[in-house]
């Protein structure tokens, strides 16, 4: 899958791009946080059904899983300029470690993409099937937050 390789390369490019003035980074930070909110909303649809808190709806489940596949495959080129880490500016929880380990950060997004593909494969098979994949999927979110996102 080409976006994966492109993404890893992109972060390295962004690293070399040199710091931009802090106020110029609000758009990028806002955009990437918005992207993560979209992750959460779509994961939420699946989690509600998979834990029996919402009635199973095959089309809504499929749409949410497909969205997660699409979202986690987005090119990240514009979102991670150098100097937009939590050590450099306020308003972000993105740790500087992202820019020290761009390949690993990219690999964590690839892992999410792979888990989302798995979810999309079974999303039409009922609430139990979704429940069975839920921890595998949310675990890929946590794995990245563990290494690269500061608590509040």
């Amino acid at each position: 899958m080409f976006p994966r390789i492109a993404f890893a390369a992109t972060l390295s490019l962004a690293l070399g791009a040199g710091a931009v003035a802090a106020q110029d980074l609000a758009d990028q930070v806002g955009a990437r946080q918005g992207q993560f909110k979209l992750f959460a909303l779509n994961l939420g649809t699946l989690a509600m059904m998979g834990t029996g808190r919402a009635e199973y709806d095959a089309r809504a489940a499929q749409a949410a899983a497909d969205n997660l596949v699409a979202l986690s495959g987005l090119d990240q080129r514009a979102l991670w300029p150098a100097g937009s880490d939590s050590g450099a500016i306020d308003g972000t929880r993105a740790l500087p470690a992202i820019w020290d380990n761009p390949e690993d950060f990219a690999a964590k997004l690839v892992a999410l993409n792979a888990a989302a593909v798995e979810m999309a494969r079974v999303a039409g098979d009922g609430a139990d099937a979704i429940g069975g994949q839920l921890r595998g999927l949310s675990g890929t979110c946590s794995a990245c937050h563990q290494a690269y996102r500061a608590p509040q």
Binding site: G44, S138, Q146, P151
Partner: protein, 300 residues
Amino acid sequence: MRQRAPLVLAAVLAMLAGGLFWLSRPQPLPATAFAALAPGDPERGEAVFHATGCAGCHAAPGASGAARLVLSGGRAFATDFGTFRAPNISSDVAHGIGGWSLPELGNALLRGVAPDGRHYYPAFPYVAYARMALQDVADLHAFLSDLPADATPNEGHDLRFPFTFRRGIGLWKARYMDRGWAVAGDLPEPAARGRYLAEALAHCGECHTPRDRFGGLNHARWMAGAPNHSGDGRIPGITPAQLGWDAQDIVIYLSTGLTPDFDAAGGSMADVVDNLAGLAEAELEAIAAYLLILPDPRQD
């Protein structure tokens, strides 16, 4: 009178030093404390292992899956006192704790005392484990003995003076250990079971409770949130007044890592969720019941 003042001072100082020496002495449990226990049950010990989170510190950094059962040590913790490294506690006899008896493990966990009588540093969260039931220690001992051996040698810590002196930890313990339950009194079930899981085994307070400048937990602000000593940001408060979640929200978070907004747990909490996800749902419900009765830290 005048000439005797230095003598009196010397005597007082000697008594003080003696007192401090006495206060700072290691206080292991007698071996008889363990004599009446049922033989350790490794299956029950596995649940204790998950709840106490030994792997989070003693497995190799970044280990996942089956590698989390190889307790080769090596994880480093940077603190104000220097860098601590979790030692090898695999079943290897030379480099791990393969040769340790139950009382030896019990004294490490419940008293923070090594087999040779030295104090351990409280980076090893024995302040919480001190509340563990002896039978749980016996079951854990049986489970640990069945885990793989690993021959990684210990690297040792990198501490600033005067924290290199282990004897001084005895004074710290005299001040901060053996405080009973942080949330005192008789609790109804399942909150009482939840208190045991949260305060004795899963040591939630070690991260979620702020510390004073000597590193002692501030019981007046129990679980009220704290600076994140392993990096940027703040560890959130989890009293009901701060969290605003119901029991189901808490159980789902502890078993899946997902918040009511479907954000996914990160930082050092991700490991805790990995560990707790292996517990029975009733245990997580007990932890939730306990969190929901925590006092409001804003009312003092």
